[in-house]
Amino acid sequence: MTHIVQMKGMNKYFGKLHVLKDIDLSVEQGEVVVIIGASGSGKSTLIRCVNGLEEFESGHLEVEGQKLAPKGGNQEALSNIRKEVGMVFQQFNLFPHLTVKKNIMLAPQKVKNTPQTVANATAERLLERVGIGSQADKYPTHLSGGQQQRVAIARALAMEPRLMLFDEPTSALDPEMIGEVLDVMRELAREGMTMMVVTHEMGFAREVADRVIYIHEGQIVEQGKPDDVFDNPQNERTQAFLSRVLAH
């Protein structure tokens, strides 16, 4: 098994607040890991540590064989990791001053020196793939939330990442647009992309995840196959959480 991500005894603090406690977690190539938990449980912070958007204070974190040092040390590893790890944000974070296509072309051109014609072709192909080929020359604000998030996925894919991080990708969307984004993610998973997904979409988790992780107050309290975690949770905190979110 090839580990794409490996965390051992990882700790993270926001000031005095201990947000991640002794996290042990590894993600294998091709695996889809869905992280669930109440808001404030540390699930977003956990995946933000993977590409160094959050620094951790102690422990071990290795991504794609690159070791990240605590407190933002080892900048070289960090920059290597970011080239290999894509991220999709809750608020999309598209670049409003660039057209949809330019949003996608920017990183390959700047980071990999991809020639413009190649970057352009890649952008068009990716936009077709996420179902919005006709919107390439519009600016992001002229798109619906669901379309924007699909552009954000295409933008991350343009760097040909080996791992994709999704930080509550549907939480800012109107209900009728959630499906179109989940469809794209489902398709990615089917094609074998390694994914770490923080989400409240329990239906998606059950259907797509290889493994579901439940985080409570910065600790992984339960993990396993989706059917096991959802139908037969062992930890009472997981039971309480699931009964709250699955009740309606």
């Binding site: 160094g52 958007l53 920059s79 991220m87 990183a107 700047k110 980071v111």
Partner: protein, 223 residues
């Protein structure tokens, strides 16, 4: 109190050819100074939000000093004070441009700082997550957006600086006000001449406002 005063249109019109000679100086000092001030503003504005204290502190000191003292004192200091230090005279035009540059530079630093800080943190996170370096993220993602937001306050500063050049009549630059003073000394038509001078400033600042409004509209259209 009987006021026999009547506005002498002929005197006003007669003064125009002489006064208009001041406009190139007014424009040269204000736009020359503003261009340097813009460069200073980018440099010191960015330094003032740098994480390293030894870069941040000098920048903040510069900004506070030149915002906190009157531009009239600054130009007098440069024109009359600095020659003692450098051992030679400074010509009034250079002193005027330098004063506008240093003064507007301090205000523009704050405009730059505010513009950059107004951009959502998610923008730089998106850039970094795509593998762009901090420098690339700044210049391709943050700066273009920040600059758009800076256009209105920059326009404001340009108008302030244009009007500030009127103070430089005290060091004898032949700008608009100075031309007016010289003209009045022989014609004694203060009311008419200052009226024309005011109209000329207004013509400059209004044209600038108009241009800025067009630029702004074009800039915003694409966002």
């Amino acid at each position: 109190m009987d006021s026999q005063f009547q506005f002498d249109w002929q005197a006003a019109i007669n003064s125009i050819p002489f006064l208009i000679k001041g406009i190139p100086y007014t424009l040269l000092i204000s736009f020359g100074g503003l261009m340097i001030g813009f460069a200073l503003g980018i440099i010191f504005g960015l330094l003032s939000i740098n994480k390293k204290w030894f870069l941040r502190w000098p920048a903040t000191a510069y900004i506070e000093i030149f915002r906190g003292t009157p531009i009239l004192v600054q130009v007098l200091f440069i024109f009359y004070g600095l020659p003692d230090l450098i051992g030679g005279p400074i010509d009034p035009l250079t002193a005027g441009i330098a004063a506008i540059a240093l003064n507007s530079g301090a205000y523009i630093s704050e405009v730059v700082r505010g513009g950059v800080q107004s951009i959502d943190k998610g923008q730089s996170e998106a850039g970094l997550s795509l593998g762009l370096s901090r420098t690339q993220t700044f210049w391709s993602i943050i700066w273009p957006q920040a600059f758009r937001r800076m256009i209105p306050p920059l326009g404001n500063q340009a108008i302030v600086s244009i009007k500030d050049t009127s103070l430089f009549s005290v060091i004898g630059v032949g700008e608009l006000v100075r031309q007016g003073q010289v003209y009045i000394a022989s014609t004694f038509t203060a009311f008419e001449v200052y009226f024309v001078v005011a109209i000329m400033y207004l013509a400059i600042t209004l044209s600038l406002s108009l241009i800025l409004r067009l630029v702004e509209r074009r800039g915003l259209a694409s966002v």
